[in-house]
Amino acid sequence: MRVPLGWLRDYVDIDLTPEQLAERLTLLGMEVKGLERWGADWQHVVVGRLLTVERHPRADRLSLTTVDVGAGAPLSIVCGATNIAPGQHVPVALPGAVLPGGRRIERVEKMGVVSNGMLCSGDELALTSDADGILILPGETQVGRELADLFGDIVLDVDVKPNRGDVLSLLGLAREVSAATGAPVRPPVIELSEHGAPTADRLAVDVLEPELCPRFVGRLVTSVTVGASPDLVQMRLRAAGQRPISNVVDASNYVMLELGKPIHTFDAAAIHDGRIIVRRALAGERLETLDHVVRDLDEETLLIADPVGPSAIAGIMGGASSEVSGQTRDVIVESAIFEPVSIRRTGQRYALRSEASLRFEKGQEFRNARIGADRTAQLLASWAGGSVAPGRVDTHPEEPERSRVAFRPARVGRLLGAAIPASEQRLLLARVGIETAEAPPGTRVVVSVEPHPLVVDPWAASETEAALDGPSAPAAPEVFVALVPTWRRDLHIEADVAEEVARVRGYERTPGSLPDTPMPEFRPSPLQVRDRVRRVLAGAGLSEVVTHALVSPGDVERFRASPDPAGVVDGEADAGGEPIIVTNPLSSQHSMLRQRLLGSLLEVVRSNIRQGREDVAVFEIGKGYGRVQDRPHEWWRLGFALTGAAAPRAWNRPLVMFDLDDGKGILEILCHEAGLESVSFEPLLGTTRPSAASDGDQATFHPGRSALATARVAGLHAVGLRGRIGEVHPRLLDELEIRADRVVLCELSLRGLTRGQLAPVRAAPVPRVPAVERDLAIVVADDVPAAAIAARIRDEAGDLLRSVRLFDVYPMPGGGRSLAYRVVLQAPDRTLTDEEIDGLIAGVVAGLERLGGRLRT
């Protein structure tokens, strides 16, 4: 909310600098987000007095003036306005002046006469809305003064929280200033002189929906002259961010800003029979609103209507037909209270929110319906010369008593962690207008309203405590009742009172302490595995990325969740379900929750290459999302993408590009880190036949360079890692406009990503006896997975096998390939004999032969 300080001073005295005031308000919970110097952009604009006004010798429409600007000789200035006369005080922009909007004023020649500056209109100064005439200043204005010194102001930008609708007004903020400084509040003095026939003779109001409109106060002001508001009013409205329109409309806006009470004014001639009906819209009804949009009304909409039809959407926007215009003579003032939720919903349905509807949404002080109507009538009489008809029409004149909130000073202190005596708490509350009284015995304290009221009886509780503590304990509890000012709609429970005590006392006076309450039990961190994996991958040269979970439908379509073949990873959620769609997306690019990381990773590759990057090695640990029936389902995955030089390009290293095997190497270190057995690979697509599929693995991966990776948990049968790894299909790279020859892409499910813990490593002693190395070259068919051969070697060699490592692959001329393994054998405690070794190797070879292999000789 924009608060012009000069206006605020109408309601409270302020002896602080603007900066000091801003800080005090901020510490009270009314955060001042900024201080704007209103009029700071009037440079070299001074007050001048017109000495002469003559017709320009060569242009009928221009006047030639001489102006006294205090210092130096009078200036001759050419002016095009017609509302000027000698003796008037006017704003003069001197040569060199800069006006709002950056307009620069220089000495110019106009039709043969030199003009030494410019006389300014209110519009040119952004002070009033009058663009036709020169702004005529009050006669007592001192000639030669800088305009900024006289009419400039400081505007506070106050962030009013949603629970403090009462502070969406100058009077409300003045009360907060008063709480901060102790200066008394001066509400506007409302004195009306009423004339003529009573309001009730010419205005009747029927509220058919009292729940949606608990109170409607109407007033009638006759014989108004619609015109411009006083300059000061226009300046204040401008500074507060409202455009001046006419004295009648300005009066309602002024009251809204002053009291926080939205007011609507109708041209009385447009209300048939002087009868206002507050009702819901009927099906098929339409209304042209003030913004000249014809709107189809729905039956949820509350209307201000007359016997003929709708006149306004209640609390939201008036209708064009009953708008106050230059011809308006009599004005009906509506000062009503509407049910906040209904206003909020209606505003959302019509996408219409205004300063008025925002205030209605936050709830209105019941009394303000009456006060707002009177204040508006007073201003209409003063600014538009209207005659106020006696009395009001009021559908609910009884105004409620102040509400009562019981509180226990001891509990307030317990919550705040500060022992504040009851007497001090009461004094603090008094500063925000909250009177307090000792609560009569039996008073209940409301601790909570939702989900259903929780009310305690301090006397009963006190007796229990007394019984526990023995007969010497005091019995009478200390309980007070806070009488909540009618404008405060945010105080309902004891904790609300505690906040008032704390904030008026000053949060900075809350002592700081470290908790001395019991510690919670140990809980293993769900982030442990994710964090370890992140560090390992960063160490391996991959950079971590975080991409959007919200992606485009095209991305989801291309990379749908497909369940991992052959079971899930131990303890991890399976991918699956229908994609989840955002029903109110910001853009179609981010309208669905992703199911896989692949598309996001490829986008990172694409955008970095576009930025001129040659090599990209990135990973992400992120979630996939789906809906299974009507339940959301989320799962964690690890993905990475590699492209370009596998090691940074350097003058002293041959260039080697990332390929599938680099990705596989990363899986190996992941398995080692996660306590998994060695990873095995099998062809992902089962065929190398080119495919034309547009989605799924076949479209994503290179048919001959993609694999399903699996690793089991060491010593257990459970799967600990499973996922797809491969080079991206060149056609997909083309479609996505990724300028790279090869991109390695991987997404996998890894045991522990969700909340797992790393199992401790079982360390074995280091053997002190020599190891034996044997090389075995095995010729097998192309479709026998290498992992099967290594597994067979392990099985056959048994406990004495220390390691098995593939060191050469050779395609055989007649088909099949030769895989050469170095096998290391070692007993923990003795040197193996040649016979033992030969026997083991023979067993291994026999096992491999059962797989269809033969020893290459």
């Binding site: 989900p451 040269g541 990057r613 809906r627 350097a650």
Partner: protein
């Protein structure tokens, strides 16, 4: 064979050998010489074989001479060998000289994402005070994200969280990590000291300080006597740990429907040190988190009796913390994943 001849032969052999050793220019030839003269089939052995033809009295004399010759040759071989090795090493070292002014061979180095690292940093600081990590779903229901947090349907406070809704009835993308408070209270008996890091979503147009996806870390502490003073003390500790000891802090009223009283927590501007600058809106302060005493409504939805238990909650944006700490002025950088940005972090 007589003594004189044999002696002369030995001396001749010695002279020849010494001369040959002196002439040798590489280690291999020197080894060959050693074999030629001193080996089993070498010349000295051959000469000594003639000793048998001498009268017994002469044998020791010749033996002594032969031994002298052998020792002389061995010494010469050793000296020559060591000289040769030294010069060969010199040659190798000379040959191996490189231009040490050239740069080395770079190693690929990965970096960790600043958003995640910030969350970890925050969690580590609070872990020192006994806080443990929990997680809760990102696709939440309206009940937990709003209503149980004292934000009823159609409440004006909902304007604080522009929400993305999904096609699952009653569900939305969580607008904050605060619904995690309900999950923790319902699963964990007090004393509770919990942290909830994670991704959040809002219907918010993207600019330098807003995004529709971002992270948050929620904190929750509940016990019988957990007070607002504890909150203040702990937040001060956090600010000092994160931004440096002695950094001034400010504890002032804020507003959240799920806390009462509510708190906004500021630290002295990291750019100007509190004097006032454009970065802090000339106030000298930067708001780093929101907090407050958990509202009784929230405690009750969490299954706790507000007459018995009380506590506080706080929530902060790890990206904002990083922005303040590293002088980053544009939030968008965090999700753009431009390696030129990410690789600046270690």
């Amino acid at each position: 064979m007589d003594l004189a001849t044999l002696t002369a032969d030995l001396e001749a052999l010695r002279d020849r050998a010494l001369s040959a050793i002196a002439d040798v220019s590489d280690a291999a030839s020197l080894d060959a010489l050693s074999v030629d003269y001193l080996g089993k089939k070498g010349e000295l052995t051959a000469v000594l074989r003639g000793i048998g033809g001498l009268p017994p009295d002469d044998r020791p004399r010749v033996g002594a001479i032969a031994n002298e010759v052998r020792v002389a040759l061995e010494i010469a071989l050793e000296e020559r060998g060591s000289n040769l090795r030294a010069s060969e090493l010199d040659r190798r070292l000379t040959a191996e000289t490189v231009d040490v002014t050239l740069p080395g061979r770079p190693i690929r180095r990965g970096t960790l994402h600043p958003s995640i690292e910030a969350m970890n940093e925050i969690c580590e600081i609070f872990a020192q005070f006994g806080f443990v990590v929990h997680e809760s779903p990102e696709v939440e229901d309206d009940l937990t994200n709003f209503q149980m947090l004292n934000i009823p349907l159609d409440h004006p406070a909902r304007d604080l969280w522009d929400t993305l809704y999904v096609d699952l009835p009653g569900h939305l993308l969580r607008t904050h990590t605060s619904p995690g408070q309900i999950h923790v209270m319902r699963s964990t008996p007090p004393p509770i000291r919990a942290l909830l890091p994670g991704r959040c979503f809002r219907y918010e147009a993207v600019d330098a300080s807003h995004g529709f996806e971002f992270f948050q870390v929620e904190g929750l502490m509940i016990d019988r006597g957990t007070t607002m003073a504890d909150l203040k003390g702990l937040l001060d500790q956090f600010a000092h740990a994160m931004f440096g000891a002695g950094r001034k802090t400010r504890f002032r009223p804020g507003y959240y429907p799920f806390t009462e009283p509510s708190v906004a927590f500021d630290v002295e501007c990291l750019v100007c040190g509190g004097v006032g600058c454009p970065a802090c809106g000339r106030s000298g302060w930067m708001t780093i988190l929101g907090a407050g005493m958990v509202h009784s409504v929230v405690l009750r939805y969490g299954g706790l009796d507000p007459e018995e238990y009380q506590g506080f909650a706080f929530g902060m944006g790890p990206e904002r913390i990083k922005m303040l700490k590293h002088g980053i002025t544009d939030l968008r950088l965090f999700l753009e994943n431009d390696l030129r940005f990410l690789e600046q972090f270690r």
